[in-house]
């Protein structure tokens, strides 16, 4: 469902025309465009945005954890066009069980570390990612700290060997 404020938006119109139901919904908040995209189409949408609409960089990729709701995660893409001075936010809903999304590193190589961060801190896996390793936490760390069910402290008291 595209909100009224976006009915006249040329970019959103073009996206809906091209991808149809893959653009699930769209709203405007604080003068910023937010589009929900179906998980299967995110790479195609990003490629289209970069190729046809000059969105030449992904500012950031991050995630939200709506625990205990389902679908639990939202992966958020903050996309920016330098030429048009335009920013939009793409969101993909991901289930809490084995959360997986396609990686957009092929579109914007800069998404590499941001997706690694989401993988590390939220546990969302990115398929076709060239280097999906933890980036902030130690490699042997268990759990994903930015999940809402991860405690703020008291996770482990012994960080040494043999814990």
């Amino acid at each position: 469902m595209i909100s009224e404020a976006l009915q006249e938006d040329i970019l959103v119109q073009a996206l809906v025309e091209r991808f149809g139901d893959a653009i699930e919904s769209g709203t405007v908040q604080n003068e910023q465009t937010i589009l929900y995209v179906s998980a299967g189409s995110i790479v195609a949408v990003c490629e289209y945005l970069r190729g046809e609409h000059m969105f030449n960089r992904a500012s950031s990729v991050t995630a939200l954890d709506w625990y205990p709701q389902e679908p639990r995660f939202e992966v958020v893409y903050l996309v920016h066009s330098l030429k048009e001075k335009q920013r939009i936010r793409l969101k993909v809903r991901v289930s809490g069980e084995n959360p997986t999304v396609d990686s957009v590193t092929g579109v914007w190589p800069g998404a590499n570390w941001y997706e690694r961060e989401v993988f590390d801190l939220f546990g969302v896996k990115f398929t076709n990612h060239p280097d999906l390793r933890r980036i902030m936490m130690p490699e042997e760390w268990e759990g994903h700290p930015l999940r809402k069910d991860f405690p703020i402290h008291g996770h482990k008291y012994d960080y040494g060997e043999g814990n």
């Binding site: 910023q32 937010i34 030449n56 330098l82 936010r89 190589p109 570390w113 130690p138 703020i152």
Partner: protein
Amino acid sequence: MAISTITARGTNMSETITPGATLEPVASQDGGTTRKMTLNMGPQHPSTHGVLRVLLELDGETVVKAQPEIGYLHTGIEKQCETKTYQQAITLTDRVDYLANLSNNLCYCLAVEKLLGIEAPPRAVWTRVLLTELTRINSHLVWLGTHALDLGAMSMFFYATRDREEVLKIFEMFSGQRLMTSYFRIGGLALDHPRGGLAAVKKFLEFFPPKIDEYETLLDNNPIWKNRTIGVGVMPVEQMLAMGLTGPMIRAAGIPWDARKDEPYSGYQNFEFDVPTRTENDVYARYRVRMEEMRQSVRIMTQALEGMPEGAYQADAPKVVLPQREKMKTQMEALIYHFKIVTEGVHVPPGEVYQVIESPRGELGYYIVSDGTSKPFRVHMRTPSFGNIQGLGPMCEGGLIADTIAAMGSMDFVLGDTDR
């Protein structure tokens, strides 16, 4: 632009360097064979200015591949923000980028103000501009001193630190703190200007511009400096953008992108200033851009000082801004609001916002999601250093080990900003 230009360098990003691994032989110049080697630089290395680990794969002295590893300063600030009220979280934003603390305060406050639908009064807005530009000078001075120190110009470090001291004194006058200022609050400032505060800024503005000239006499035509910086750390500009590099890095590559001009915030549209750019895209060009930015900051500060409005320094929003002490003693409502703000915090309507500002290092963005309670549901910090370091690998490939130091210095990253 074809994808091939983006991935022209750094194509083998997926392969991880294993320290100490036996690598394939390569032909040496005298006809025999030799092996490539891996070198572990950091995490404790003086030129990383923090704890950054770079794995280098070397062929002789040439860098075949460089792979930065971060996370050594990860303190979970984003997670901590979710456990604090909106007011309390301001103190955490200082600690993200400890050289550009006020820029982080500003970005956070602007984002929360947008969610709340309030605006800071003119006096607060102009003071914010004045002090964030001072922050830019502060940050650039630290960069200049340490970057020059890395490349062998030791005296530069002493000059830069000496003059940075004057900036820190001003921060201390305004906020009571030299580094972790937390001076900007949601809806305005923590305190009004201190007595003599603006006079101190005025004095600094007279004192500082000749110092920039002085630094340039030390470096501009210094043959060692030029040899170490000119033509070093070059990278295709489209690749830089796609890899997430921002700020002076991009402007030294000829793209006049500055959030202060392109997406004006906090009244920057009222100020006259130029966005310095260069086209060489090497370490020297980045040095020139940052020197010119300091001059532009002085120009903005002069305007902010001359036009500093009188009046309130906090927004008239009793449910958000703590009441004045005098009002609390005389008005029942003020006392109630004070009690509510301190015990419960500020309830922010549900919604989300992404606020971008131009920090000394580039695009600084706060993505804040509110679920209607007094604590943020999610605070994501899009920090410039994180994006910039990501480009370190492709930037260093094909250069010498010594050029890695120059390229790293020219990025001006802060590891606290990277790891959060």
